[in-house]
Amino acid sequence: MTIPVQPTQGSAQLPRPARWFLLAPLAVWLVAFVVAPALILLVYSFSERDELGRVVFTFTLENYARAFDPVYLSVFGRSLGYAAATTAICAVLAYPVAWCMAQARPPWRDRLLLLVMIPFWTSFLIRTYAWITILKSEGLLNGLLLYTHTIAAPLELLYTPGAVVLGLVYAYLPFMILPIYGSAEKLDPALIEAAHDLGCGPWQSFARVVLPLTRPGLAAGVMMVFVPAIGMFAISDLMGGARVPLIGNVIQDQFVGQARDKPFGAALAVIFMLIFVTVYWLWQRRAEARVA
């Protein structure tokens, strides 16, 4: 959004009040809920804590030094791994679903879209507890498998890394389906026919035409899954038994948990944000380079 800001003094063209008026709610929202909290975090990250966990405003780089301690770097690496696995699985699962939805006839499309949205009608925590009921040792899944004599003893499903990834995939799958569906729906079917016509089998037409043309949706889905997945803490607590600390757990612990070290938590959060901003910036630059 570029609106020319001109000095009122000596200028014939005043900024148009109507435009500013329309922009005001967005600007206020951004300042209040994005810019201000980010600045507070930034200030905190250079501060110290006192014995009660209060923030004492000094200037220290100690929090950043601590953030680069191998302990926290490995937590960070692990979180990246979990988020990457979640994103990859979501993409693989969501793509065919979104594609089938886009190919369905309009009344079915709406119904399928509704089915994707339905999970949002109940609380995320309730849905996570439902998974615990299914996966626990004396749970539904083990019960079914024992009953059908597929297994002899209950499987260890809950409180495993697999359960965490399952919970993450479950929570974020719709955020992958919807953007892919958005770009798949817009894809002209004639383009796929053209690919077949020019000699592409089903797999090649997917790789050479469908995938490149739905890449914006896929990229949006990757963003919408990866970013929240890397910061998630509730699922690793509930479904992973809190055995494996993820970066979200560590940050949460600094703010409301026992560690009581907001400046350190802020430093971790700031590093986190910087990484995202950098990755996004690089990506945008590449996208622009491709267009140009």
Binding site: R49, E51, L52, G53, R54, R66, D69, V71, Y72, S74, V75, R78, S123, L125, I132, K136, S137, E138, G139, P154, E156, L158, Y159, P161, A234, D237, L238, G241, A242, R243, V244, P245, V250, Q252, D253, Q254, F255, V256, G257, Q258, A259, R260, D261, K262, F264
Partner: protein, 340 residues
Amino acid sequence: MKSLRLLCALLLVAVSAARAAEALNLFAWSEYVPQKVIDGFTKETGIKVSYATYATGEEMLAKLLAGGAAYDLIQPPDYIAEAMIRNKLLRPLDRAKLPNLRHLAPEFLALPHDPASAYTVPWMLGTVGIVVNTERVKDPIRGYRDLFQPKFKNRIVVVNDNREIVSWALVTLGLNQNAITRENLAKARPLIAEWIKLVKVFDSDSPTTPLLNGDVDLGVVWSGEAAKLINENKKFAYVLPAEGYHPYVDLMAIPTTAKNVAAAHRFLDYVLRPEVSKLISDEFPYTNPNLAARKLLTPAQLANPASYPPMGKLDTFRDIGKAAADIDKLMTDLKTAAAK
């Protein structure tokens, strides 16, 4: 879980701030103050009670310090109360307004966190002990060394509380649980590293759930949770670790920022009444320090080993200040290493 509670608390804070003068802002643990008690107080005094909750003492402290809402009455754990008293965040109590104080057993007063009992009144006591599913575990479990054995790998739940876990290792090594020095942490480190590899679930909010669900057979949990579990199923047994254990005292106190100090005193005295205190024990079977209330309990309630274990010397947690960061780093490191 925690985020939900946080949201609820924030909402309640927002609502309560808008209330009229004759109201009491109570800031307490989630699931610790029975609704019956609150309703009874309001009925008798006409004072409305807003009950905001938190999941950890640290969370309570953080929110109190952040300001915004003036809480009249809080429920700090002992070691947090200690730090609050030192930092003049608690108001001295007017003992003349608390005639029911006489019902409390003297051994629960004048503890190290508040040597003169000038600022705090004990609410409930608990211990952290071992729960055993006796149907699945036939070995005798007397303490931490019996519990943390390789054969019980992936069959153990412990509270997700780093300070607790560190203290178990310290007492097992014969060290002072409150001596959180880098040297002591280094000594405890190998032991904790071994233990963590055996644990399947870390959960402070509801540590008995995996025990009930059959996902684990052993646990180190809060005594009140253990007492409820034993009430539900007698196959569970509660064991106080032979290596040593510590009680924790949850207190009631009035912050210096309180607006309605009179109502806070009234509420304090109200919950110290034996018949009211009994209601709390009925719902939350921790150790009740109120001797008159204990007389109203059933023999079964008093016989629950998790509620009323034999208590020796009361060696509670003390405030450790910035050493919390060292514990955090140690535990994060060990958990990460154990997951590899």
